[in-house]
Symmetry: C2
Subunit: 258 residues, 2 copies
């Protein structure tokens, strides 16, 4: 965890989405934006995401590259009972540890399934890399787990979301990044020069410019983000002034409330 | 381009999504599933996707890693007129070439903007790495471009989609992957063992199992994908037989049509 930005601590994360179904276009990922927002609220910045195929070497490589580079890594997908659920084997490979039937996970599954229904395939969900700490799954019991700084979670959004709540207390966040959005009916290209100058004036506020076309109106949303609330507030006021000088009537937030 | 799968040619691609707005959770990416489906139709398999921040070194590293690994790389985002549009500088850095005002791109912008509206910021959109070939943008003129096997496209979905049509003729696809989906009201864990055996029986058909919960019904969709249509058809028929033996009444397609 770096200590930059004038004493504010920056904690970073990476998200690895595992699954052929995302790369084939069959399934639209819904977990990335949820995780990004959720992490941000506890002061952790998502810095990269990768979508990787159901391939053990590819998964292991991505996990090893990312766990060395970021404070936390989260994975989603591939921990179910079928032959294409290869995440846990790939994680064991990445860490160079064996994978075994985990007694605690086994007990959880036994409590969930009727006797006779806990077949060989479902038992696969209790195979966990040695040394991992389980993450509770209140929805369907089969657990996720943590191994060092890597959290291995389910891909089904509702299950991933409850797993995040289960593991929240294990994360140490930094200073949260505050965000404000200022919008205006103004072409991005007209605002660009002044916005670039404003960015130079406030190096600790990151400014993103996003053009839009909504209800037959062209405009721009500028998102300002910073760990320094005073600088953020001052930059917002300056930006509103710049937009007014360009003849626009800016609003605060993503949508014009009027 | 490998020549595996019994003489079928496999052409691969990677998608690099550039933008802090995706990693902050502000914007939900819509381009990945579109590109995946579009590429698949012309026989190109999307093998990996990455979401990277607005950071020149991070972008350059991702581009260089991926262009060495895949036949084609597509990027989206960061080619607009504002200070946070740093994709083109990062691409020039990745390739070790200068970036200059491109005369053809300049002419396109001149034809689009009224005199006096083509300001310094908008001219940024005509700064293109030397050696690149432009990709037409019928929507708003500011072009994308191709440099070696990397295609640099806009992030706004409608513009990215028209750019793909503009560059389609430059891509050489392999054998398209055919796909069939078989669904049933059947717990994934009950099907898992037979499905694993079926996968072993048909190594050239990739089988993905996706549980669902819809309209108060639990079930599973199995997606079978192959470049070999005969094997695909045979595997589908076998799977339908397996599901029936397990007491289910399977259907073809994502949704039960009944």
């Amino acid at each position: 965890m770096d200590d930059v930005n004038g004493g504010n601590s920056v904690v970073t994360a990476c998200f690895i989405i595992i699954g052929d179904e995302i790369l084939s276009g069959r399934t639209q990922d819904k977990n990335l934006s949820y995780l990004a927002t959720w992490l941000n609220e506890i002061g952790i910045q998502l810095r990269e995401a990768r979508v990787v195929a159901d391939d053990p070497d590819g998964i292991a490589t991505a996990v090893n590259e990312c766990r060395a580079k970021y404070d936390y890594v989260f994975t989603s997908g591939g921990i179910g009972p079928t032959h294409d659920d290869i995440t846990s084997d790939s994680i064991a490979k990445a860490f160079g540890v064996p994978i075994e039937l985990n007694e605690e996970a086994h007990a959880l599954l036994r409590s969930h399934y009727a006797e006779g229904d806990l077949n060989e395939s479902r038992l696969r969900m209790a195979r966990i890399p040695v040394g991992a700490l389980l993450v509770e799954n209140p929805v369907s019991k089969a657990p996720g787990y943590q191994i060092e700084n890597v959290f291995v979670l389910a891909g089904i959004p509702v299950i991933m979301q409850t797993m995040l709540e289960s593991l929240r207390h294990r994360l140490v966040g930094g200073s949260p990044v505050r965000s404000r959005t200022i919008g205006a009916e103004l072409a991005e290209g007209k605002l660009a020069k002044s916005l670039g100058a404003l960015q130079e004036q406030y190096p600790r506020v990151s400014m993103g410019s996003y053009p839009f076309y909504r209800s037959s109106r062209f405009g721009v949303s500028v998102v300002l983000r910073s760990m320094d609330e005073d600088a953020l507030e001052a930059a917002c006021q300056d930006l509103i002034g710049i937009m007014r000088d360009l003849g626009a009537d800016p609003w605060i937030g993503e949508q014009d409330p009027r």
